[in-house]
Every structure is written in structure tokens, then in C-alpha cells.
């Protein structure tokens, strides 16, 4: 929290341990941008994070469970509201993904699906690197910089994940993880309209990530949407590839809300290296007599 407050500091200017942002000047020179670019970038760097961080501080004043802790490691004070959003999300999902016709996974050739996935991953890498730098994970940031360089060049503009074949595995992150690294608590469980399961911390991270993608600032307007579209198609493809599993959780569960909540929190905490809900559950404590 202290770091966040420090960043949002009184001066209203983003400073990182006193370091000045040299990147815009370098970029302008390297890419031959006109002089005004530097000022635009500077403005963005100075103003946007402050606005965003104010939002984050508002949201990430994350609600924490009481002294006795959350039951089963799940903190869900907004359950009533969340359940309404859950029902809404299920209706939306049904509209887009139900029906017996062949889905994306069946109609689009696997080769094309893989190209979309690789491209979506490659264009997300600069943002990943930004977040890993903010997390102080220099090795992983370096590895992802190499992934980006290799895939964007030898990998034909990101269409082929050549880096993976050479041992540089995909490694994703987001500002929600950055907040976790900075010690912001997870907060309450949230189900967000259209986006699905989240937490207060992750939702705040999603808002900040609208501004942390460097490509957005260097790629001109129509072109930069190609990446967004590719990411959307890739998500769509994953929903289709795992349609049976997702359908099973959403439509065949006795209580799809609690199933989704448990699976999301477990997988997210696994990703972040945090203690899973139900980690104190001992399967050997039960009496198996007669079963």
C-alpha cells in the first residue's frame, strides 16, 4: 500500500525511486516520431497513472475478512449482488455459446487457431514486461522481452511462437498480480458483468491494465485494434475448445455460482503462488468405514 501511496504522491507526477522516464525520448529517436510525441507521452505518463491510481486506491482499499478469517478461505460479502451478476453472465454466455452447431473449435482449422493464439500472446508481451518490471521480476521481464523480439521477427510478426520451441515458455501476468506482489490484499470475491469471476484486487488491476500496454501508445489507432481483436478471438476460441468443461460448470452444477467461485479463486491463487482456499482441508481426517 505504501508504494502505491508513494507513487500517487503529492506532486501528482509518477516517479519511480526518483528515476526519470527516459523511454519516450529513446522511442521517439528510434522510431523517428515528431518532437511533440515526447510531450504527449510525458503527459500520459504523468496524468493517467495518477487518475488510475486514485481509482485503484479507491477500489483496492480492498475489503478484508474479519479477525476470524473467511470461511474456507473465501471472502464473499457481496454474494447477493454477485449472484445476480452471475445469472446475467450465464444468460449472455447462453446467447453466444449455446446451440448444437459446430463452434469455433470445430470450424476454424487448428493451424489458424494457433496463429491467432500466438499473435494474441505476442502483442500482449510488452504489457507483460511492463508489469513484470513493476513487480521487480527482472529475469522474467528479460525472458519475455526476448520472446517478443524472437516472435515478432523470426516468428513472422507474432504468428509463430518460435521462442516457445527454443525453451522460452509463455509467461503471462497482469496488474492484478503486480498489486499482489506489492502486498495489496485480494479483497472480496467479485463477479463482474461480461468479464466473469474476479476479486477486488484483480478488478482494480484490469482497470489499470487499460493503460499499461505500451503498444497502445506507439501503434497508430486503426492498427492497434488488431491485437485487441486477436485477443478477443483467442478468448472466444478457448471458450469453444473447453466448451464441455465450461458448460458442465455453468449449466450442470447444483450451484454453478459456488463452483465457479471455488475454481476461479483456486486457479488464481495458484497462479500467484498464494495459499489456496481450503488449503487446511485434510482428506485423511474422515472416517472411511463402510464406504
Amino acid at each position: 500500500m505504501s508504494l502505491l501511496c508513494h507513487m500517487a504522491g503529492d506532486s501528482g507526477i509518477l516517479r519511480w525511486e526518483g528515476a526519470e522516464m527516459k523511454l519516450p525520448t529513446l522511442l521517439r529517436k528510434a522510431r523517428g516520431f515528431p518532437k511533440g510525441f515526447e510531450e504527449d507521452w510525458g503527459l500520459m505518463v504523468n496524468v493517467r497513472p495518477v487518475v488510475v491510481l486514485t481509482v485503484v486506491l479507491g477500489i483496492a482499499g480492498c475489503s478484508v475478512p474479519g479477525p476470524e478469517g473467511a470461511p474456507g478461505g473465501i471472502h464473499d460479502p457481496y454474494e447477493t449482488q454477485n449472484r445476480k451478476v452471475h445469472d446475467f453472465n450465464k444468460k449472455v454466455d447462453k446467447t453466444f455459446f449455446s446451440g448444437d452447431g459446430p463452434g469455433y473449435a470445430e470450424t476454424v482449422p487448428p493451424f489458424v487457431q494457433d496463429r491467432v493464439s500466438s499473435f494474441a500472446d505476442t502483442v500482449s508481451l510488452p504489457q507483460t514486461v511492463v508489469n513484470q518490471l513493476l513487480q521487480g521480476r527482472l529475469l522474467r521481464a528479460t525472458s519475455n522481452t526476448m520472446r517478443f523480439t524472437l516472435n515478432a521477427t523470426i516468428g513472422v510478426g507474432g504468428l509463430f511462437d518460435v521462442a516457445n520451441k527454443w525453451g522460452l515458455k509463455p509467461d503471462e501476468t497482469d496488474f492484478g498480480e503486480t498489486l499482489a506482489v506489492w502486498g495489496v490484499p485480494e479483497g472480496a470475491y467479485l463477479e463482474v458483468p461480461l468479464l466473469g469471476p474476479s476479486t477486488e484486487r484483480d478488478a482494480a488491476g484490469d482497470v489499470v491494465d487499460l493503460f499499461t500496454d505500451p503498444l497502445k501508445y506507439v501503434v497508430p489507432t486503426p492498427d492497434r485494434y488488431i491485437g485487441t481483436v486477436a485477443k478477443a478471438i483467442d478468448k472466444f476460441g478457448e471458450r469453444s475448445q473447453f466448451s464441455g468443461t465450461v458448460d458442465s460448470v455453468l449449466y450442470d452444477s447444483a450451484d454453478s455460482y459456488t463452483q465457479l467461485r471455488l475454481i476461479y479463486l483456486q486457479q488464481r491463487r495458484y497462479e500467484l503462488g498464494e495459499e489456496a482456499p481450503g488449503a487446511d482441508f485434510d482428506p485423511f481426517a474422515v472416517d472411511t468405514e463402510g464406504f
Binding site: P110, N164, T258, Q266, E271, V286, D287, T288, F291
Partner: protein, 195 residues
């Protein structure tokens, strides 16, 4: 095809040997890895057999009984409600639950068609071993999975990217029981058809 990565396994073995106070385990890490290896191979054989759906589910049920610690799993998912159940109810529940899991997960296996599971490493845990694997899906996607194997040399839990299947089923069965006002017999009858 599964491969036990020898380097990882030796590392795990060396770590074990370095702990002189460890109580003797009936099971070795190699046996736990073999169990997972054989289970995966048998599942792949069933999927490749091209049999009808119904007979595949019967095969999966047989494999679940052979490789899984079904009494331990069933007792856990029924949880507190199991304490007041009669022995006949407990037995009937295990039977119905086993079929339900075979059908539910059997459907999922289709999504893994064309994929393969590779054993990565074996780790000693409090009661047995955790066998960590990577599931290579079609395309370049991978899923980290882990089987927990008890000293009875049967698996009792499966994790998919950190999601605990035993806990997930415990919550699901709990919700089904709530919806039936705690009526175990009704739950058993419905489980025979569910999945």
C-alpha cells in the same frame, strides 16, 4: 506416452534420502509415478478404442475403481452428512458416486483427445506423493496437473492448474444434498443418473 523425467525423479529421491527421520512409506515415488503413467495409458486406450459412449463410461468406471481410492474420495465428498449415514447408505453412495464421476469426467476426456500427459516430477507429501504432470493439449496449450497418491498406491485427488477436484466435488455434492434437504437416499438415486 508418458515419461518420468529421471533427473527430476532422482532429485526427489535424493531429497527423500536426505531425511533420515522419515517414517517408512509403503509406497515409493517410482510406484506413484507408475500408477499415474498406467492410468493415463489405460484412459488413452479406452478413448482410442472407438467404443460406444455407454461402454466407454463403464470402462472409465472400472479404471476409476482400479486406480482411485474410491472409499476415501466418497467419504470426503459426502463429508459431515456421511457421519449419520448407515453403512448400506455409505456403500450405495460410493457406488453411485463412482458412476457419476466416470460419466462426468469421461465426457471431459474428449476435449483432451489428441493430447498427452507427461509426468514431470514426484514430490513426497504428508501421506504419499504428489505426481506433477503437464497435459499437452491440441495446439500449443498446456495444463499443469497433479495427482495425489496415498500410501495405498491409489490416487485420491487431482489438481488442474491449481483447482482441487476433490474439494470441488465436495462442494458440488454438498449443494446437491442441500437442494434435497439432506435426503441421502434421494441424492444416491439422482447421482445414478447424473454426470
Amino acid at each position: 506416452m508418458t515419461h518420468l523425467n529421471r533427473r527430476h525423479f532422482i532429485a526427489a529421491g535424493a531429497a527423500l534420502a536426505a531425511m533420515p527421520a522419515m517414517p517408512a512409506l509403503a509406497l515409493t515415488g517410482q510406484q506413484a509415478a507408475n500408477l499415474v503413467h498406467n492410468l493415463v495409458n489405460e484412459i488413452n486406450t479406452v478413448i482410442a478404442s472407438g467404443k460406444s459412449e455407454a461402454s466407454m463410461y463403464r470402462e472409465f468406471e472400472r479404471l476409476f475403481k482400479k486406480y482411485g481410492d474410491t472409499p476415501l474420495i466418497a467419504a470426503n465428498v459426502l463429508g459431515v452428512a456421511g457421519r449419520s449415514a448407515s453403512n448400506a447408505q455409505r456403500k450405495a453412495f460410493t457406488e453411485a458416486f463412482t458412476g457419476y464421476i466416470a460419466r462426468k469426467y469421461g465426457k471431459r476426456f474428449r476435449e483432451f483427445q489428441g493430447g498427452r500427459i507427461e509426468v514431470q516430477s514426484v514430490h513426497a507429501i504428508s501421506r504419499g506423493y504428489e505426481v506433477r504432470c503437464v497435459a499437452h493439449m491440441s495446439g500449443s496449450k498446456t495444463l499443469e496437473t497433479a495427482f495425489r497418491v496415498s500410501d495405498s498406491n491409489r490416487f485420491y485427488n487431482l489438481f488442474v492448474e491449481g483447482a482441487d477436484m476433490l474439494l470441488s466435488e465436495k462442494e458440488e455434492i454438498g449443494a446437491m444434498l442441500d437442494a434435497r434437504r439432506g435426503n441421502i437416499d434421494q441424492l444416491i438415486a439422482d447421482l445414478r443418473r447424473a454426470g
